[in-house]
């Protein structure tokens, strides 16, 4: 088993929909006080709620360090627009953006667009993988030093450092280059839910952070090893992946949970296993799984965000910090730095020997 990295923690701040920015700003600031790596905000065209990427853009200037990871669906959207919007979130947050790729499998969602019928998840995840692929290519399509402002020759950009991506996927093509210059992180962080199922291959191939579901440390370790193995098969260095266990947590009233721990969750625990207990017990669980080398960290979905996130930050995280198991400050500024992930080299600069 390969050693895990420093402990990484993330939290979902969605829940029942809110239609004002203040609610989300407060939750993100709370998570930032807990020095969490990032917050996620789930999204779907199928249920009430605001556009998650826009909400986290609104949150960006109101926060300073926390990573911002909206769900972005790839099924009925344009890959070129998706790439531009995620890159822009990285610009407005000064290097704190990620995106959680999702697909829309239902006929109801398809009818909102009227462009194509619903398709099997496996097919849609192949397309999501292609969207992640073309997104990364577009982010690279401007070399970091493409803007030269050379008064002598009158050139604002060096066109030799701008690249066509000429991508041909099964359902779309993109010529490129991007409109948005290469974002601060090079590539914003790609998050994919990769436990079994059709998202697994896209996760192993394209994700920086893979969310998995497990009910015990042994199972988690096995899944993590499998994800890393699959990533290696795609020619990736497995150490450039972070595998986080998804847990839905209910820290509400510890007294009602005679045995703190994981349960088979109610249907709403779609994001992972269901944990019920107190903040201290949750800290124990996190410490134990991480110490066992089973995971790189956890993605926690509070069942009631306002209440449970406060308990996570002031209870669970405070205890992990007290035991020196989790950072007490952000040593860096970007989400990649929080996650211990390098800024990717630019494939086009590399191709021309200008790495």
């Amino acid at each position: 088993m390969s050693a895990t990295t420093a402990l990484h923690l993330a939290a979902e701040i969605g829940g029942p929909p809110h239609y004002d920015a203040r609610h989300y700003v407060e939750l993100a600031r709370l998570a930032e006080r807990g020095t969490l790596d990032f917050v996620t905000l789930g999204d779907s065209f199928a249920r009430p709620g605001l556009d998650a990427l826009a909400v986290l853009s609104r949150v960006a200037p109101a926060t300073r360090r926390i990573g911002l990871v909206p769900t972005v669906t790839t099924t009925h959207t344009e890959p070129f627009h998706v790439s531009s919007a995620v890159a822009t979130l990285d610009w407005v947050s000064r290097g704190r953006a990620g995106w959680s790729a999702e697909v829309s499998t239902t006929e109801a969602e398809a009818r909102l667009f009227g462009r194509r019928s619903a398709a099997p998840a496996a097919e849609l995840w192949r397309e999501a993988g292609e969207t992640a692929d073309v997104g990364a290519r577009l982010w690279d399509s401007w070399e970091d030093d493409a803007e030269i402002r050379d008064v002598a020759t009158g050139r604002f950009v060096d066109r030799d450092k701008l690249h066509y991506v000429d991508f041909e996927g099964a359902t779309f093509t993109v010529r490129g280059p991007a409109i948005v210059p290469r974002p601060p992180q090079g590539h914003p962080v790609t998050v994919i839910d990769g436990t079994g199922g059709p998202g697994q291959e896209a996760a192993a191939r394209h994700a920086d952070v893979v969310l998995v579901r497990a009910t015990g440390p042994e199972q988690a370790a096995g899944i993590r090893a499998d994800v890393r193995h699959r990533a290696a098969a795609y020619g990736r260095d497995p150490d450039t992946l972070r595998v986080l266990v998804a847990l839905t947590v209910d820290l509400g009233d510890a007294e009602t949970a005679p045995e703190p721990g994981l349960e088979s969750g109610p249907p709403l625990a779609a994001g992972g296993s269901y944990y019920r207990g107190g903040p201290v017990d949750l800290a124990e669980l996190i410490a134990q799984w991480h110490r066992a080398g089973a995971v790189d960290g956890f993605h926690l979905t509070p069942i009631t965000p306002e209440r449970d996130l406060e308990r996570i930050v002031n209870g669970t995280v405070a205890l992990l910090q007290h035991r020196s198991l989790f950072r007490t400050f952000y040593p860096g500024g970007t989400l990649r730095e929080h996650l211990g992930l390098a800024r990717p080299a630019n494939r086009y600069a590399l191709a021309e020997g200008r790495a």
Partner: protein
């Protein structure tokens, strides 16, 4: 005390970039992509009590002669995402995004616009543009392109569909199922966003073709035009306002706002001198040759920008020019340029400066304020979308020196009187369906 009975002017700030209006060679020119630049210009506009902040859009990098254009500012963020962030650092300023109706779908875009309206407490606007070229289409699933007529019918149906979606929630906050069946879109389901603070984000229409005017008269709240002279402005104004009645709308329901540039100086003479210098910066030697090639349709890179115009004739069918450049009949333009050059003894660069380097308002703050007021009070415009030539400080002087004069003359608000962009523009909230 005088009551502000004068017709009130509307002002908007255009973030510069992606054309040669923006002088990137000036040492004060900063990033066109860092958020701090957007924040500076937006805060300045809000300090000046402007109606809104305006972002253009690009969906493909321009090319010339098959190569990416490299002389002007290029590279920009995606509009709606930047404006969502700007909502955090402004309180009242309207936030207008240019978003193409050809390469988007109504459900997704209506949702993103309604989201911006919620996140900004009612300050969102959508500048509807269309695209006719397969060149841009190469970045999208749709690919190809729509012909001119089709792109307007699609845009009109797009706006109508978005309005249907914005109207689907009941005033008490319950979603109702919708179904739209039309030539371009057949969609149904449930919209996921409740009615937003403005009901409908403000709709802006750019362009002044006959199709564009008709579309604006039927569906837009603001029309973004380009008319440099009082005379042209008045003609356009009366034409467009007259079109409103047949759609059951009042003249005040559509605001006419030309995009304009300005150059200020302590005196009119100083402003003229500065304006000439800015035109020289905007049209570098390389840009002069490029402008020439766009007319001539030939590779003229060997010509001296400080020398005379070419003696060879334009080749209109060379295919050298792609993308958005529309210059009219090249032979006629070339003849006009030659005549001008001979009459005044102008070099290539001087000719290009003379013919393309126009600035709208040049003078002392008093002169510029007077001219702006005259445009508005004589119905050549309802206001202006100001295009500064510097990023991001290009609006500072205008806000510090011209706005106070407009306010003193009762031509422009001293404080915001409402919370939403519709209230700044004096537009009624659209009536929702019970």
């Amino acid at each position: 005390m005088t009551a502000p009975t004068r017709k009130q002017m509307h002002l908007a700030a255009h973030f510069p970039g992606v054309n040669n209006t923006t002088v990137w060679t000036d040492p004060r020119s900063k990033s066109q992509i860092d958020f701090s630049s957007f924040e500076h210009l937006a805060r300045t506009a809000e300090r000046g009590r402007f109606d809104f902040f305006f972002l253009a859009e690009g969906l493909r990098l321009r090319e010339h002669n098959g190569r990416i254009h490299d002389l002007d500012v290029v590279g920009r963020p995606e509009s709606l995402t930047v404006l969502s962030a700007l909502a955090a650092v402004t309180d009242r300023l309207g936030l207008a995004a240019t978003v193409n109706a050809t390469f988007n779908e109504p459900y997704e875009l209506a949702r993103r616009l309604a989201t911006l309206d919620h996140l900004s407490d009612g300050r969102a606007a959508w500048n509807v543009v269309t695209s006719s070229d397969a060149f841009t289409g190469e970045n999208f699933r749709r690919g190809g392109y729509l012909d001119r007529a089709d792109r307007y019918t699609r845009a009109a149906e797009f706006v109508a569909t978005a309005r249907e979606l914005w109207d689907t929630w009941t005033p008490d906050g319950t979603p109702r199922p919708f179904r739209h069946q039309g030539r371009h879109f057949t969609i149904e389901g449930e919209f996921t966003v409740p009615r937003s603070p403005q009901g409908h984000p403000v709709v802006i229409q750019a362009g002044d073709s006959p199709e564009g005017r008709e579309f604006a008269a039927s569906a837009a709240d603001v029309i973004f035009t380009r008319h440099g002279t009082l005379e042209a402005g008045r003609t356009f104004y009366s034409d467009v306002k007259a079109r409103l009645a047949k759609y059951g709308r009042q003249p005040d329901d559509l605001k006419i706002m030309p995009g304009v540039t300005f150059v200020l100086g302590d005196s009119d003479a100083e402003a003229q001198e500065r304006a000439a210098e800015i035109r020289r910066q905007q049209i570098s030697p390389q840009n002069a040759i490029l402008a020439l090639e766009q007319v001539w349709g030939r590779d003229l890179s060997s010509y001296d920008p400080d020398g005379p115009l070419p003696e060879i004739d334009p080749d209109p069918d060379s295919g050298l020019v792609q993308g958005r450049v529309r210059i009219g009949d090249p032979l006629a333009v070339a003849a006009r340029w030659r005549a001008l050059s001979e009459a005044k003894g102008l070099s290539i660069r001087q000719t290009v400066i003379e013919t393309t380097g126009r600035q709208s308002f040049i003078g002392s703050p008093e002169t510029v304020a007077s001219e702006l007021v005259e445009f508005v009070s004589t119905d050549a415009a309802d206001g202006f979308i100001l295009v500064p030539h510097l990023t991001p400080g290009g609006l500072d002087d205008f806000v510090d020196r011209v706005v106070p004069l407009l306010q003193e003359r009762g031509a422009f608000r001293s404080e915001y009187t409402g919370l939403t962009l519709r209230s700044h523009l004096g537009l009624a909230d659209p009536v929702g369906k019970d």
